[in-house]
């Protein structure tokens, strides 16, 4: 009857026994070698391999301001353009965010003339920016002479807040936040005025035909500061 134990056949004669034993012994020798390296020689390196370096990423900001006053006729739609000077791109790591404030007052001077309606719309165009960012406010409307505030995230994911990141190197994170392509080009703001007519506007001398609008462009540039956080 055949043996039920495989070892009887594997180690059937002296030669087989010797060969298989040498093979198993060789495996054990390598295992001991590996254990020595793993637990003794390289133990500190192995223990530290998953300890990731932490970095804080913060931003020094610098703002470029530009203001423009425009009188827009009732029912007209005008496009205002704005381009940041090249020097700003050369002097900073990136263009973070663009704020636009549109102010106006009722300037007709007529008694009983309420605030006009002003609508502003920052049109997405070929300028490289994060046009899809959820925080963007690309259009606004005012009927009570309040300021219309628009915002566009130009550098993707820029918030201006200090953050902490793990792994890689300081250079890597600095390079992630350095790019002068974002925000280059001409931004276009479309403004439309719908002038409200004062009481008694049926009289030929009483009318409100236009509105003076002040547009403030605020381009926030940043220089990234990456510092390793000591554990």
């Amino acid at each position: 009857m055949a043996s039920e134990n495989i070892l009887d056949d594997l180690l059937f004669n002296e030669e087989s026994k010797q060969r298989v034993s040498i093979f198993v012994a060789f495996c054990m020798v390598l295992a001991v070698y590996h254990a020595t390296v793993f637990w003794v020689i390289m133990d500190d390196d192995i223990a530290a391999k998953d300890t990731m370096e932490m970095f804080s990423v913060s931003f020094d900001t610098n703002t470029h301001l530009h203001e423009e006053v425009r009188t827009i006729d009732d029912g007209d739609r005008e496009v205002l353009s704005f381009e940041v000077p090249t020097a700003m791109f050369d002097d900073h790591d990136g263009f973070g965010v663009l704020y636009i404030n549109i102010n106006y007052q009722e300037t007709s001077g007529q008694i009983g003339d309420s605030c006009d309606t002003v609508a502003a719309d920052l049109k997405p165009n070929s300028v490289q920016a994060d046009w899809q960012d959820e925080r963007n406010v690309l259009s606004g409307l005012s009927t009570d002479c309040s300021t219309i505030s628009l915002a566009l995230t130009v550098f993707p994911e820029y918030t201006g807040n200090q953050t902490q990141v793990a792994d890689m190197s300081a250079e890597h994170w600095a390079s992630q936040w350095t790019n002068d392509a974002h925000g280059r080009g001409m931004f276009e703001l479309q403004i439309e005025v719908d002038a409200s007519q004062p009481t008694g506007s049926v009289l030929p001398t009483v009318s409100d035909d236009d509105e003076e609008v002040t547009v403030s462009w605020e381009a926030v540039f940043f220089d990234v500061v990456v510092e390793e956080i000591e554990s």
């Binding site: 055949a2 298989v20 295992a31 192995i46 792994d167």
Partner: protein
């Protein structure tokens, strides 16, 4: 096309070939009990491995929000099946280590028990613990197939015959399938390279304990020991005038590992970027063309070769066309994927690569005509002129095989469900401290 796409190609190959092969194996009534078990397990293993490859591809590419947890979990859980099934194959094929129904029940029972322990840990939300014994399959399979290989490969010339050579070769092929990528780590392990000693299933995180990493690496160490033993034996036998194709296979794996070691160790050669493709470094390409191809293409190819060459398919006039279709599919998909891969990393003109692909496929199909007939008509034997003691006979009803397939299918569905829970409960992100 990067690593992820190669994983998808591997997935298509594995799942398609696994399903087709299973069809053949189920119809083969000539198989002995151990061959029947092994053949079914090989097919099922490759179907599940294919799904795992696809999950791996998605987990590498889909980094949006938290869905990566689903793919990562699925990838790991399906790997349990590969682990367990490859050990089960080693226990019965090419020669049965378990020789009686009782031994078979105990042996397979232990493996199923290990699987249950792993699943319990996973369900308890405690994956990646040492209880999983991840890496032990390399140890067990390495020792079993390694011992069988050495026993039969080093028999005295008078005791050798075709079957003993075939048993040694099949054992070595299974070892190549399982350990080929590990053999490439040989110099890294011997020369204390971080590439080896920092091996971690969850690299860059502390998801696994040091002991878990140690057990995982220990499996690799046994794999390397088996590789070195095979290299020694093959060189010795070649000097004695008994060379085997295994010598070239093991040398190819060891050499590619040596080249990788040189790239990582000297002058940061491996980090050199390619002038024509910023996405790749020299090392990245080398890994893609060696370890990447081993995982996705070589493994299914070896499995298919074993199934065809050693009579695990019963190819007759009724199914010859289907079997041929399988091999042609294998050749066409593998050739086109390989050329696409080369085209991605090396700037070959598309027209030129299309022409090259045509030529290679033509050669491949021509070669298939010739080699397929040889393999199908004259399957190599593992039993002729071998002491019957090596192959005890008893019967395993087909019903058990059907149950094996059913259980495997249920396992896959269950793993999809578990992975979904892992994703929805953000278990990995909680473990990583992200949420």
């Amino acid at each position: 096309m990067a690593v992820e796409n190669l994983l998808f190609i591997g997935a298509i190959l594995s799942v398609t070939l696994g399903c087709l092969a299973l069809r053949f194996v189920r119809r083969n009534e000539k198989l002995e009990w151990n061959e029947k078990l092994a053949a079914h397990l090989i097919c099922l293993m490759f179907i599940v491995k294919g799904l795992q490859n696809a999950a791996g591809g998605y987990s590498n590419t889909d980094d949006s929000q938290s869905v990566w947890q689903f793919w990562k979990a699925l990838m790991h859980f399906l790997d349990f099946y590969f682990d367990i099934s490859i050990v089960m194959i080693a226990l019965v094929y090419p020669v049965p280590i378990l020789r009686t129904p009782r031994q078979l029940k105990i042996g397979y029972g232990i493996m199923v028990g290990l699987m249950i322990v792993r699943l319990l840990m996973v369900m308890l939300g405690r994956p990646n613990t040492v209880l999983e014994l991840f890496g032990m399959m390399y140890v067990v399979c390495g020792l079993i197939w390694g011992s069988v290989y050495i026993k039969f490969r080093m028999l005295d010339e008078a005791q050798q015959n075709k079957s003993t050579q075939n048993i040694a070769f099949v054992s070595a092929l299974f070892l190549t399938l399982l350990l080929g990528h590990i053999w490439m780590y040989t110099p890294d392990m011997l020369f204390l390279s971080e590439t080896f000693y920092f091996i971690d299933l969850w690299s860059g995180t502390d998801m696994t304990s040091t002991m878990f990493d140690y057990i995982w690496q220990l499996g690799h160490v046994f794999g390397i020991a088996v590789g070195l033993a095979i290299l020694y034996v093959e060189i010795k036998q070649a000097i004695n005038g008994q060379g085997s194709p295994m010598l070239y296979i093991i040398i190819a794996y060891m050499l590619s590992g040596m080249l990788r070691y040189l790239m990582t160790s000297f002058n940061s050669l491996g980090e050199v970027g390619l002038a024509w493709n910023d996405d790749f470094t020299l090392l990245g390409i080398w890994n893609l063309l060696t370890a990447g191809i081993h995982f996705t293409m070589v493994r299914p190819l070896i499995a298919m070769y074993i199934l065809l060459r050693y009579g695990l398919f019963d190819i007759d006039e009724n199914n010859r066309d289907m079997a041929r279709l399988m091999t042609v599919m294998l050749i066409v998909v593998a050739t086109s994927a390989l050329l696409e891969l080369i085209q991605t990393v090396i700037p070959i003109n598309q027209m030129l690569s299309a022409a090259l692909m045509g030529i290679l496929i033509a050669f491949g199909v021509g070669w298939e005509e010739r080699s397929f007939d040889t393999m199908a008509s004259e399957p190599a034997s593992l039993r002729e002129d071998i002491d019957k003691d090596w192959f005890p006979t008893f019967d395993i009803p087909q019903l058990y095989m059907d149950r094996l397939i059913m259980v495997s299918a249920v396992y896959v569905v269950l793993m999809f469900f578990l992975s979904f829970i892992y994703w929805q409960m953000n278990i990995y992100e909680k473990m990583l401290g992200v949420v």
